[in-house]
């Protein structure tokens, strides 16, 4: 699995929708969906910072390493 994105769990906890979060983070819903569905190859610090700010969490809450 490698790196896993837990954005869907966090979004559910914070009761935030994809479109709403995308607007607050200032990225497109399509890009946020790519990130949420673990299809992204990389994440910019600025995006990570904005998500952490909006969801009130730490980078470690969003990104998790899983053994293959």
């Amino acid at each position: 699995m490698g790196i896993k994105i837990n954005l869907d769990v966090l979004m559910a906890q914070k009761k935030t929708g994809l479109v709403e979060l995308a607007k607050r983070v200032e990225i497109t819903p399509a890009n946020l969906s790519i990130l949420k569905n673990n299809k992204a190859k990389a994440i910019r610090f600025s995006t990570l910072e904005a998500i952490c700010r909006e969801l009130g969490c730490q980078p470690g809450d969003i990104i998790e390493y899983e053994e293959d």
Binding site: A40, K41, I43, T47
Partner: protein
């Protein structure tokens, strides 16, 4: 990118594509006329000339067809795609075929112009192949960039 230049290039390619078919289909007649009024050597080696020029013509048209496909992606604003890598690889193969056929013709009817054609298409094949590798790298960089959120 200069859209006028791109559209002009596309128009030139379209004209060359149509012109290529015209030249190819009228080749037996035009060769006969060239043999009669320009050089008797053409008339002596009519069949070899006809076959070699027809093969080169077909592959030339195929090269132009690939270039037109590539130009369409440039006009569409999405030129960094794997289809263009394949087009460049195909163009390299078509160019080497033309160089090979012309080289064979060089042994039958040696002329400086024929030697130049061999050299030009051999270099074109090499450049096309190298360019396909460069394009392939560019496509992979673009895909990676597109998936960086």
């Amino acid at each position: 990118m200069d859209s006028k230049l791109v559209k002009f290039t596309k128009t030139v390619l379209d004209v060359m594509f149509g012109g290529g078919f015209f030249v190819l289909f009228t080749l037996p007649v035009s060769l006969k006329l060239l043999g009669k009024y320009y050089s008797a050597k053409i008339e002596e080696n009519f069949l070899i000339m006809l076959v070699s020029l027809a093969v080169c013509g077909v592959f030339g048209i195929l090269i132009i067809a690939q270039l037109r496909r590539m130009m369409r992606t440039v006009i569409g604003g999405n030129c960094f795609v794997y289809a263009n890598v394949e087009s460049l690889q195909k163009m390299a193969v078509f160019s080497i075929v033309i160089a090979g056929v012309t080289l064979t013709k060089l042994f039958v009817m040696p002329t400086p112009a024929t030697a130049v054609v061999v050299l030009v298409f051999f270099i074109a094949a090499l450049f096309s192949q190298v360019l396909s590798h460069v394009f392939e790298k560019a496509v992979s960089y673009k895909e990676e960039n597109d998936l960086t959120i």
